[in-house]
Amino acid sequence: MSLLHIENLNVSLKIQNNDALILEQFSLRMAENERLGLVGESGSGKSTLALAIMGLLSNNMKLTADYMNLDGEDLMKMSLEDRRYYISTKASIIFQDPSASLNPCFKISEQINEILSLHEIRGKKLMHQKAIELLDAVAIRHPENVLKMFPYQLSGGMNQRVAIAISMIGNPKLLIADEPTTSLDVTIQAQILKLLFEQKQTSQMGIILITHDFPLLAENTDKIGVIYSGQMMEHASTQNILNHPHHPYSKALLDSIPQMGQRHNKGSRLYALSGQIPSLENIPVGCRLGPRCNKAVKLCVNPPLLKSIENHGKVRCHSPLYEKKEQ
């Protein structure tokens, strides 16, 4: 059974009486215990997807979907309160900016205790003990001291550890990490990622890692979804995407990664996709990548569909890259 199954998710934002689609016909299937990476440029709708799954869209956005199945129950069929409660027991999210993900007005201990009490852990001693266990698990060295502090007294990395610790309360089945390391120092990034996947190992949960950093996904994920301008462009296993990217956009993303040492060809220039991601007001007709794609042909003014390709995965393109060679 799949952990998360989304079919035909549309999220639209009202801009001056026009509905602009931030996410269009978005479908996603994720197995239990899977590590899924979602990659895309800023403004591609990655974070909106995370918010949509967690039920956090602001009220000027509209969400429609055939169904959104989270651990066996369809979120679309639930009332608002039921849905909130259900999500709180099944899923958790970690945000990009660690200093903004903890409430600046309350001590760490107060914030942990509040969530603990929601999960039926009561009693001062028990709470304290549990809180220290939680902080221990995310490798915080002096948990007693940290508990007494306010978020602003901790560094970004520490804040993110605390945020991860709080997310783990209640053992969620799904953890969404929305660029969890982007605003951290490089050395801290590796630590936090390691920590995140350690947590996954111990508590058997599925994890969605959202990032714009392809190399990060290469090592850490089972499957990768490539998102562009609100659409899933390619969804396949990590190995397949890294070795044979079928979508021109995936290839462009891979080509734009700097190669170090031996793999670097002397004198070669780093590849850069021309142009920029279209704004919501002027989304191009047909394939959304059209204006930027160097393989674009006349056919591309018709919107392509997400098609399955044998031995690979799903691709949204009229002329996928490796297909012709195989024929």
Binding site: M54, N59, N60, I93, A100, P104, C105, I115, F150
Partner: protein, 336 residues
């Protein structure tokens, strides 16, 4: 905390000294005659003998003046000959009562409306509240007061036109706050209390309209900003109830701009009190001050200005403490 306290005391003293110096220079320059009414208990004798004249050095005059103020005396009224400190004690509670009720009214409704608007951003509720606040913000309060009197008192006859309480009630002054005093005097049971409230409704609405509009707007914009923060999203996702997210997690973080606006509204309430009291014949300090202006009773104006400004200074201090209490980061910063 101790260092903050010391610093606040220093701040307070310097503000008060500055204020006294300011009022002294005003008096000294414009009304040297009036000054002798403030400084002496027997003004006529002094101004005749020229004891407090320009021949004495400026600073020794200033210290004489300060000395007098420190004993809690503000001199005598020129037109009535009364002791000004006693007059203030007579008139101030009425104004304070009006101001406090107005503050409670505008703050509670302002927070409530602001939060409703923020939660329904860009929906009809929000638009309705926003346009209502714009209208409230633009009302000249003297006109607004007359319209309300015309409608509710003269046409509908539901509220009284003027004064603090019906003339048939004779309440002993205990605290000066009629809301409390009327309950303390057993003679009229609840009737007197009801009468006090009836008399209070219109002045409070008139005085509270602008602060209410301002607080609603600030609450709305600050709450919209805070409700979009990640920690609020986190709180929602982790299953904390809607009420607790709004009133505990979000409002506390959104509160510091509201406090800033509140401190500005204190001035607006005092300004408005002068006008409101004169329209509703409310026997408070504002009306008393305005009458002194008509009579050009300078020692009274001086006393009124001094007291009002000191009250404002103390309120600012209190607001400082509240914002420090609400925001741990600020608490720490001022420790450095």
């Amino acid at each position: 905390m101790f260092r903050i306290f010391i610093r606040q005391i220093l701040n307070l003293t310097s503000s008060l000294l500055l204020l006294c110096f300011f009022t002294f220079v005003l008096c000294d320059y414009f009304f040297p005659n009036g000054l002798s009414f403030i400084v002496s208990s027997d003004p006529l004798r002094i101004s005749e003998s020229g004891f407090f004249s320009q021949s004495i050095h400026f600073f020794s005059r200033f210290f004489e003046y300060l000395n007098k103020l420190l004993t809690g005396q503000l001199g005598l009224s020129i037109s009535r000959g009364n002791n000004i400190s006693d007059e203030i004690i007579n008139y101030l509670p009425a104004s304070m009562e009006l101001a406090i009720v107005t503050l409670v009214f505008s703050l509670s409704f302002g927070l409530w409306l602001g939060i409703i608007a923020a939660k329904h951003k860009n929906k009809w509720q929000d638009k309705l509240i926003l346009s209502a606040t714009l209208i409230g913000y633009s009302l000249p309060i003297f006109w607004w007061a007359m319209l309300l009197v015309l409608f509710f008192s003269l046409w509908l006859g539901v509220t009284p036109v003027a004064s603090r309480i019906g003339f048939e009630y004779d309440i002993d002054v205990v605290t000066g706050f009629l809301l409390i005093d009327s309950l303390l005097s057993p003679r009229y049971a609840l009737d007197a209390f009801v009468s006090v409230i009836q008399h209070m409704i219109l002045p409070v609405i008139v005085l509270g309209t602008i602060p209410l509009a301002a607080i609603t707007r600030v609450t709305r914009s600050s709450m919209i900003k805070t409700l979009g923060e990640d920690y609020i999203n986190n709180a929602i996702v982790r299953g904390i109830s809607d009420f607790s997210v709004t009133w505990k997690h979000a409002l506390r973080n959104a509160f510091s701009p509201i406090l800033t606006s509140l401190s500005l509204q204190i001035s607006s309430i005092i300004t408005g009190a002068i006008i409101t009291e004169s329209i509703f014949a409310w026997p408070g300090a504002g009306k008393w001050l305005l009458e002194a202006v008509y009579r050009r009773d300078f020692p009274v104006i001086h006393g009124g200005l001094l007291i009002t400004a000191s009250i404002v200074i103390f309120i600012y201090l209190a607001l400082d403490y509240i914002s420090m209490w609400l925001n741990p980061k600020l608490r720490d910063k001022s420790n450095l």
